[in-house]
């Protein structure tokens, strides 16, 4: 209207006026900008339509199995890719409930399991049913979505922690049912109901269901690793495209509004309970689809693939990628599965990358430093300090002991190598003793590990330059403990501990996740 002042930014506003707000009008200019090459690259990227980027990435992913040969190493590589895509599917599904609608659903793993067990029951020797893949997938996905509705129905009024507890209970119930489901008696009435035995074996109990069919449809059978890679990639592409359309729709908006402020959403007459049920149902359907793929890929369904530990990993993927972001869910899944779960293994049989776990650790530390430490001068000072500290320690140890720096890099159990020029760098940065944790006395290495934990705890208490100074020996000690002690243990639980530690640090540096939107509130 006429008396609303025009919104052009004026050089010197005479006083506060509605409609003229310099700060907001110029927020785009104030946003952090990148000059030079990064800025130009970003500008070019932003002009490319998003579907084109999407197709390009899909095409790149589709090339992976083509480039892989039939050697064991390469088949392993393709398998890791397939598993990463299954996790991507799971992360996309979980993102609907957690990221879009903001429901802390800890029972999600049950739908994954329902998908896997459902497919295993319908397409295996278990009950002699050998349904075609498309038949059992449709049935299992629909059943799982309905189960999602049914479980969400009693908990639809719960939010936050309360919902988490109830859904965690559902998730655990599934695990109990599956592990105990090899002696089911329908209220002890089996004989009366006309069954021929007192106890029925439905789930195979702790042994699970083996000999599950490969995906078979219309006379074709997917049997190679490549085939499963493409099947899973197709599923991810379809689900991703579908969810990004939903996200832009009225329903997607309502989900996000619900997550942000469910009372305000209700005041817009958004049917919040129905939307919650739908979010859980859609997530359950996607999880079930992932379950059927996993079941056919492993040719079996086993209880421990569907327990809370796996749930936590899926959550880690969604949170790392940034809850609410579809790209984030996929990237989070690939990063966690490929880099952390597989990459942290000390000896994965990928051609010559014999110590890739090492590179993940050093790369991870470096990445976190680059992300977390802002003025580059400070970063350079810390990195320089780390290198100098190592060289000085190495020199002192070399001068005062006889075999204190003669250690080699541990690349496999009982295997020590020089490790090329990068190995040379590591050996001259860290003072590796000739007797390692595995060979000689364990005490100094255990003290080093305890010292590392103490240093990390101290780091959280300090601020400013003191923290920067303490960071230097901490990073060095982390490298030392990794090389002497953790590298061999990284195939077990230590890997998950490291994953957790990396996640904590990364989330502290970037709480919204890699692709999440940070919350901006100026009120």
């Amino acid at each position: 209207m006429s008396d609303v002042p025009p919104a052009e930014p004026q050089p010197e506003p005479s006083g506060p006026q509605i409609g003229v707000d310099e700060w907001v009008a110029r927020s785009a200019e104030r946003a952090e900008t990148h000059g030079g090459l990064v800025g130009r690259a970003r500008g070019v990227y932003e002009r490319v339509p998003k579907p084109a980027v999407f197709l390009f990435v899909v095409a790149l992913a589709a090339l992976i199995p083509v480039l892989a040969s039939q050697s064991d190493n390469d088949i392993y590589f393709v398998r890791v890719g397939t598993v990463a895509l299954v996790f991507a599917l799971l992360a996309l599904g979980l993102n609907v409930a957690v990221g879009f609608a903001g429901l802390l659903d800890l029972g999600y793993i049950a739908y994954y399991g329902v998908g896997a067990y459902g497919y295993a029951m319908l397409s295996s020797d278990k009950f002699g049913l050998h349904w075609q893949a498309w038949q059992s997938i449709v049935v299992v996905v629909v059943v799982s979505a309905l189960l999602g509705f049914a479980l969400a129905l009693p908990s639809r009024r719960l939010v936050g922690d309360y919902l988490a507890i109830v859904t965690l209970f559902f998730g655990q119930i599934f695990y109990v049912i599956v592990t105990q489901g090899y002696r089911v008696s329908f209220l002890g009435l089996n004989k009366d109901l006309g069954f021929d035995r007192a106890n029925w074996d439905l789930t195979g109990g702790p042994n699970g269901i083996a000999n599950v069919d490969r995906f078979t449809a219309f006379g074709f059978t997917a049997s190679s690793e490549r085939a499963y890679f493409y099947v899973t990639l197709t599923a991810v592409v379809v689900v991703f495209a579908g969810l990004s359309l939903v996200n832009r729709s009225r329903t997607g908006r309502a989900w996000r509004a619900l997550r942000d402020d469910h009372l305000a959403a209700q005041a817009m007459s958004v049917p919040i309970n129905w939307l919650k049920l739908m979010a859980v149902g859609v997530g359950a359907a996607v999880a079930a689809l992932a379950g059927t793929i996993n079941s056919a890929l492993l040719q079996g369904a086993f209880p421990d693939d569907y327990n809370t530990q796996v749930l936590i990993i899926i959550y880690a993927m969604v949170i790392l990628g940034g809850a609410g972001s579809l790209v984030g869910a996929v990237v989070g899944a690939v990063v966690v599965e490929v880099l952390m779960l597989e990459g942290l293994r000390p000896q994965t049989p990928i051609s010559d990358w014999t110590f890739n776990g090492r590179w993940v650790v050093y790369g991870g530390i470096l990445l976190v430093l680059v992300v977390a430490i802002r003025p580059w001068r400070r970063l350079a000072a810390i990195l320089g300090g780390v290198v100098a500290f190592g060289v000085v320690v190495h020199a002192i140890v070399a001068a005062t002991t006889t075999k204190g720096t003669d250690g080699l890099l541990n690349t496999a159990p009982e295997t020590f190598e020089e490790g090329g020029w990068l190995g040379w760098l590591i050996r001259h940065w860290l003072a590796l003793p000739a007797d390692t944790y595995a060979q000689g006395t364990k005490v100094p290495f255990n003290i080093a590990l305890a010292g590392l934990i103490a240093l990390v705890l101290c780091l959280t208490l300090l601020r400013g330059w003191k923290r920067d100074v303490l960071l230097v020996p901490t990073i060095w000690l982390a490298g030392f403990v990794w090389e002497t002690r953790l590298v061999l243990e990284a195939s077990g639980p230590t890997r998950l501990l490291l994953l957790g530690a990396l996640l904590i640090v990364l989330m502290t540096a970037r709480p919204q996740g890699l692709f999440g939107k940070p919350r901006v509130e100026i009120v």
Binding site: V4, W23, L263, V520
Partner: protein, 242 residues
């Protein structure tokens, strides 16, 4: 009592409403009405029952006795979403925009019932608030308080309301912005929307209102034409008292 002032029909009527929070008797035998196209303000100090009245109108809180009538229909036991479908919209206390969503998405949420809104809905909002148009692709959470107030009103207008409920529109705004804000409320009102405004700021709200009610500890202690109320000596005492 609940007669309309200018002869037009009554849009909203609360009759003998008693509302409780558990054991606490909040609204006590409250009678209130808003005629079509009328601007009514509801004044009162803290804990006088202003917000509870709004919640009762919207159906977030159900009265233990009494009736709520809207557009000649008894809606006492109807759900919030039913009432909104019937033509109510609210500008909540503190505006409560969806911060991580853009201004446009906030407007689309306002028009949720109409599938995201028709072009006419957007034209209406944009012509009332040209600034909202300029900010449409910005995240609502990044706007200043005054701008958020406009987006919140625009969002409410997207639902094509017959009655707009406003909860403390002056809250959190600088004094000079409060006056501007009420001018905008007046504009929206002149566009033909009936309004029920809950406010602590008696002077500003009575200056634009047709009628006013003053609540004190859950009872309506004063009511009348805004022009008369503003002269009332007891008003200050009544609405400042607890």
């Amino acid at each position: 009592m609940s007669e309309s002032t200018n002869g037009s029909s009554v849009l909203l009527r609360l009759e003998g409403v008693n509302t409780f929070y558990g054991q606490m008797h909040i609204l006590q035998d409250t009678n209130l009405s808003v005629a079509e196209g009328e601007l009514v303000c509801l004044l009162g100090g803290n804990a006088s029952g202003k917000s509870t009245t709004l919640k009762t109108v919207l159906g977030i809180v159900r009265p233990r006795s009494g009736t709520v009538t809207f557009a000649d229909e008894d809606i006492t036991s109807r759900s919030t979403s039913y009432r909104i479908r019937k033509g109510m919209a609210i500008v909540p206390e503190n505006r409560r925009l969806f911060g991580p969503m853009t201004v446009l998405e906030n407007l689309q949420m306002g028009a949720y019932l109409h599938g995201g809104g028709e072009p006419e809905d957007y034209e209406r909002v944009y012509s009332l608030f040209p600034l909202v148009y300029e900010r449409r692709s910005q995240l609502a959470g990044t706007l200043s308080g005054g701008e958020q107030q406009m987006v919140a009103m625009g969002r409410a207008l997207m639902a094509r309301p017959k009655l707009m409920l406003m909860d403390e529109p002056s809250m959190g705004l600088a004094p000079i912005l409060v006056e501007r804000s009420f001018e905008i409320i007046q504009q929206v009102h002149q566009a033909g929307v009936a309004m029920l405004i809950v406010e602590q700021n008696a002077n500003v709200s009575l200056s634009i209102a047709d009628r006013g009610y003053v609540l004190s500890t859950g009872r309506i202690v004063l009511e009348g034409k805004a022009a008369e109320l503003i002269q009332n000596e007891d008003l200050r005492k009544a609405y400042l008292g607890r």
